[in-house]
Symmetry: C2
């Protein structure tokens, strides 16, 4: 069935202008046809903005947009296709009737990145294929291992010192879009849970797939998110790294419920969906996981 | 009119694996919830791959895909929307009936980038807002200056030492897609003209919008591109930087014609399209420029 699309487009949001002064210019030959070009290093630079791409349907089932926020080392590309070339969650949620916004977080992909140490205060971190394979629980999982290269080609460098501006850019995005649903993965889910506390009126629901962190708040501090439904999704074969994060995630879910929040903690293996890696949206059973999310999102 | 879309997706193509050895690990706190994590810097890394996103129509007017290749400092996002939020050339060519492939070149956007000096042999170059404004001939042009920030937020760092692997990745893309039409801008157009010589059978036509370089070949060396139609497009108010490049471009066009190639040199001001900056696809009259390109593409 073809998808009836009204509009495809993108924009950048958030960030600020940083002035650099006192760096010497560099001389560069950009092409064989041009002489050495003197390129100033000083000037004004945009930094800490993010990139957002949208597909709007001709007849969405709801005016509330669905936002897909990626995790660490990844970009929005992780929602477009699986490594073995099947439709990604972007397509699945579009076909379910949502207008879908796929973003690249600050410093990742099309959001661009800035120089250090003048703007970013630390060095970029590069994740090797071996580390990705271990950290994402690839071996023995439902991940389509024969296309592992498609995953590792999509990995981007990251920094560990830009949480504040990244959170600010996400907040700016929510301010711009109004009431939204967020489906987020890992580091993106950590930002989504935080965003709900910053701007609770903006959100209908959050789906947090294996969040890498949860907010350190409790009791009255949670009153602002009383009307934001929460779904936590955890995959299979959690190891010494992920098990404690899943437990923190469960504790936060219990805290939310104690405050009257409609929160669900979905352990995929207990729900009959077995073998997921950390990257459920890329696994062979990505569609089955998306179906569980869709059931929950549309259940009332 | 809604667009009837069969499929949206993306993939990475090209590149190679580089092994890094002998770097000390770094200790990183990725989230407030996790202890310092020892992150090895050694291992295998993908490098020099590119990113390609496609939108396939339910009923394309031709099976030949149209590829949009961006210029220096930009990513594929420049084809999605104009800075003032109008539909970009991606949408215009989709609505004209093509399946459209938008790519991010090696080292840009979602293609990712690699560490230097171990993998890239030079340092990244950051373009200031001031330099972009001058180089792209923004002032007094049709560029929507009130949204200049949308342009500069989209600028990404670049290197000046990756032409060979970038060209190789584009070649790999053409090998994968088969017969194609390329619409390319600036540095992307330089790569497109080069790609035609490397893989002439793969191309129906090239539209080179203000190419930053042209191949240094002539006579018999051009026999391979005899069946590839060429369109060169140049904007308005060429300055001391762009005028010589436009002249080189014209000389190459004359050389192509002398070899029997169907080549057209379109000077927009002479064709009644006035005031374009270097970024015709982002200018207020971007649709008028696209129409000229479409007329040429479909003229027989």
């Amino acid at each position: 069935m073809p998808l009836s699309v009204a509009e495809i487009g993108s924009f950048h949001v958030g960030g600020r202008i940083v002035r650099i002064e006192g760096l010497p210019p560099v001389e560069v030959a950009f092409t064989p046809d041009t002489a050495l070009l003197r390129m100033p290093q000083d000037g004004d630079f945009d930094a800490f903005q993010m990139y957002v791409q949208y597909v709007k349907l001709d007849r969405p089932k709801t005016s509330v947009p669905l936002l897909l926020w990626h995790g660490g080392s990844l970009t929005g590309a992780c929602w477009e296709s699986t490594p073995d070339g099947r439709p990604g969650w972007q397509s699945i949620f579009l076909r379910a009737g949502w207008n879908v916004y796929v973003s690249d977080a600050v410093e990742r992909g099309r959001a661009s990145w800035a120089r250090s140490p003048e703007i970013y205060t630390s060095s970029p971190l590069f994740r090797s294929k071996q580390e990705a394979r271990a950290l994402f629980r690839i071996d023995g999982s439902q991940f389509p291992i024969e296309n592992f290269d498609q995953l590792t080609k999509s990995l981007v460098p990251r920094w560990a010192t830009n949480d504040e501006p990244t959170s600010a850019a996400y907040d700016e995005l929510l301010r711009r879009l109004g009431r939204s649903v967020i489906v987020a993965h890992s580091q993106g889910a950590a930002f989504a849970l935080r965003a709900a506390l910053q701007r609770p009126g903006a959100l209908d629901a959050i789906v947090a797939v294996e969040p890498s962190a949860v907010p350190r708040v409790s009791g009255n501090e949670l009153s602002g998110v009383r009307n934001v439904r929460h779904l936590f999704v955890w995959g299979d074969r959690l190891d010494a790294f992920w098990r404690p994060l899943a437990e923190r995630s469960r504790a936060y879910h219990e805290e939310l419920r104690a405050c009257g929040v409609d929160s669900t903690f979905l352990e995929l293996p207990k729900a009959g969906v077995a073998g997921n890696s950390h990257l459920a949206m890329l696994d062979r059973n990505s569609e089955a996981v998306a179906e569980r999310v869709l059931e929950w999102l549309t259940r009332r």
